[in-house]
């Protein structure tokens, strides 16, 4: 192990391409043993963050330390950082085994896992003699993971590890990630597939439009997020005004029965949403205000505490328009 402190430290990172700010003041820390999800919709800056973290892109501002070294010297970690990029990056003309042998020669490792061992670990032994160029995208992805495991990495960075995988492939990949984490490997993975990510990550950094919207353990993120509620009310126009004084209206369905509507709102005065008492008090207060305004409340349902809801609340925190909420929901697509 090259460092005793954080495995990955990203401080005030900014990256500009021409006139476009891909990253703005991105800071987060990944500690040893974490399964850390870098989450956000396409174009949110996940891959750029990882590219800067691995020294492949030079940041416009800010600093990165990976296993205690500056990002530009990541190759000096001598194979302690395993990487899988979105495109798999295999030599198409070589067999799977030769791809792994090539990577092993580059690492120059006598020790660490052998090609056969990593193939067995990832379950691609039967592909050993197949040319990499003829594999499916999912198979390529698994071979790339096998390659990243050569040399016993302490930190594994996976960019969109679930893309191109079918349901079984996703399950196998998540199992593998958990197994590796149990062996002490720190895993950083970027993805826009929140539902699957929630099954495996212990920590998350949520990115949108190049900014960090939240970072920490999942529990801490859930606790810090404002509460989102779904309301079914009559006199929707009045209800919207009431809600505006209690929080932010996120979406309104078209009224289906006279002036009734379903509204989704984020309560800004709910405080710590993890506290049941605070949450219930906020709901009661809103309910009372709606009734006093003459609205009939048929339903007042707090949103389930999941990553998708958390993402909605964090990403749309600055943009209250229903359109923004709709965009955020596409992260799940």
């Amino acid at each position: 192990m090259l460092a005793n402190g954080p495995v990955l430290e990203i401080d005030s990172l900014a990256k500009r391409y021409g006139r476009t700010d891909a990253l703005r003041d991105v800071s987060f820390v990944v500690g040893s043993g974490e399964i850390h999800g870098l989450l956000g919709p396409n174009g949110s800056g996940k891959t750029t963050t990882l590219a800067c973290a691995l020294g492949l892109e030079r940041p416009t501002r800010g600093s990165v330390r990976i296993l205690g070294l500056p990002a530009a010297r990541v190759h000096e970690t001598n194979g302690a950082v395993g990487v899988v990029f979105d495109g798999a990056s295999l030599l198409g003309g070589l067999t799977v085994r030769d791809n792994l042998e090539y990577a092993r020669l580059l690492l120059g490792h006598g020790g660490g896992r052998t090609a056969d061992e990593v193939m067995a670990l990832v379950g691609v032994e039967r592909l050993a003699t197949r040319r990499a160029g003829r594999l499916s995208l999912g198979q390529k992805k698994r071979v790339a993971v096998a390659r990243a495991l050569l040399g016993k990495p302490a930190l594994l960075i996976l960019d969109e590890p679930l893309s191109a995988l079918d349901t079984q492939g996703v399950d196998a990949m998540l199992r593998l990630i958990r197994t590796l984490a149990n062996e002490g490997v720190t895993v950083v993975l970027s993805s826009h597939r929140l539902v699957e990510m929630e099954r495996v990550i212990t920590h998350a950094t949520i990115l949108a439009e190049g900014r960090v919207r939240g970072t920490g353990t999942l529990d801490a993120l859930f606790a810090s997020a404002p509460m989102t509620v779904e309301l079914r009310v009559t006199r929707a126009a009045i209800a919207e005004r009431v809600i505006a004084s209690h929080g932010t209206l996120l979406s309104v369905t078209a009224p289906v029965d006279g002036d009734a509507a379903t509204l989704v709102a984020r309560l800004t005065d709910a405080g710590d949403a993890a506290s049941v008492a605070t949450r219930d008090a906020a709901l009661a207060k809103l309910n009372r205000a709606l009734l006093e305004a003459g609205c009939e409340v048929a339903g007042l349902i707090p949103a389930r505490r999941d990553l998708l809801a958390l993402f909605h609340s964090l990403v749309s925190a600055d943009e209250a328009a229903p359109g923004r909420a709709r965009e955020a929901s596409e992260v799940h697509a």
Binding site: R58, H75, G79, G87, L91, E101, Y102, A103, L106
Partner: protein
């Protein structure tokens, strides 16, 4: 240094496994042999014509040297282009496929991966020289006579003298091959696409080939003037006349000096540029 050696080892493994280099060497050997065989066919036709005209032939030997040199340099002209293509693809294609990102994050520095490729090219150049030379020599030996260069009883050069001249010319060409490869590497390191890299390098190289005669003496300050090509002005080209007894003037010391120094210096400059481009361009 260990990064260079590891990369060199891995790239050599990759070359062996992809078989592209093996087939390219076979192709070059066939080109060399075919060129010699074509000369044999041409000679046979001329001989038939001469007999029909009852022309008398004096004592002739050493007929293999001319076809051998032409076969060798024709194959080396093809080797020039193949090496240039290999160099231009090497970094740019790996950047496109993502291999560079994996290499640079896990194993070696950018500089090490460029230097390792340049070192590997020396092996490729020597292999191309050896294979084309042997193919041309064996074919010429089978179809012609490798004795002293004698025509009508007059001995222009002994076989030993010809061997020395040819070896000198071959050595004079080697640095130009290294410079050509380094030029290709620099272009490759500076571009994101293998297709663009190949187009740029070939365009520049072939354009120089077309314009170099117009440049006169000035062309001798460019590495490409010393490498066998379609409009060949290399040391081996001069040997073609010597090997046929058209000229007994070998390579001038000035030409030899330039052909060793200019491409060597430019090869180093291109290598440094390739390392800088790799640093700036990223993966």
């Amino acid at each position: 240094m260990s990064g260079v050696l590891r990369t060199l080892h891995a790239e050599a493994f990759r070359l062996r496994k992809t078989r592209t280099v093996g087939w390219s060497l076979v192709f070059l050997a066939v080109v060399a042999a075919a060129r010699v065989f074509a000369a044999h066919v041409g000679t046979a036709v001329s001989s038939v014509s001469a007999n029909a005209a009852s022309a008398s032939e004096g004592d002739v030997s050493g007929t293999a040297w001319g076809p051998f040199v032409d076969g060798w340099r024709t194959a080396l002209s093809a080797a020039t282009l193949l090496l240039l293509l290999h160099a231009t693809r090497s970094i740019a294609a790996d950047r496109e496929s993502g291999i560079l990102r994996v290499t640079w994050t896990r194993a070696t520095s950018r500089g090490a991966s460029v230097v390792a490729r340049a070192l590997l090219s020396l092996g490729l150049i020597v292999a191309a020289f050896a294979v084309t030379g042997v193919a041309a020599f064996v074919t010429a030996g089978a179809l012609f006579d490798f004795g002293a260069l004698v025509e009508d009883g007059y001995e222009f050069l002994t076989a030993a003298e010809l061997r020395v001249e040819l070896a000198t010319a071959a050595l004079a060409v080697l640095p130009a091959f290294a410079a050509t490869y380094a030029f290709g590497l620099a272009v490759s390191a500076a571009t994101r696409s293998a297709t663009v890299a190949t187009n740029v390098a070939l365009s520049v190289f072939l354009a120089f080939d077309l314009f170099k005669e117009a440049l006169g003496g000035a062309q001798q300050w460019v590495f490409a003037a010393f490498v066998p090509s379609f409009v060949d002005g290399s040391a081996l080209s001069a040997m073609s006349g010597v090997a046929r007894g058209f000229s007994d003037a070998g390579l001038s010391p000035r030409f030899l000096e330039l052909s060793l120094i200019v491409p060597s210096v430019q090869a180093l400059v291109f290598l440094v540029l390739a390392c800088i481009a790799a640093r700036v361009r990223g993966g």
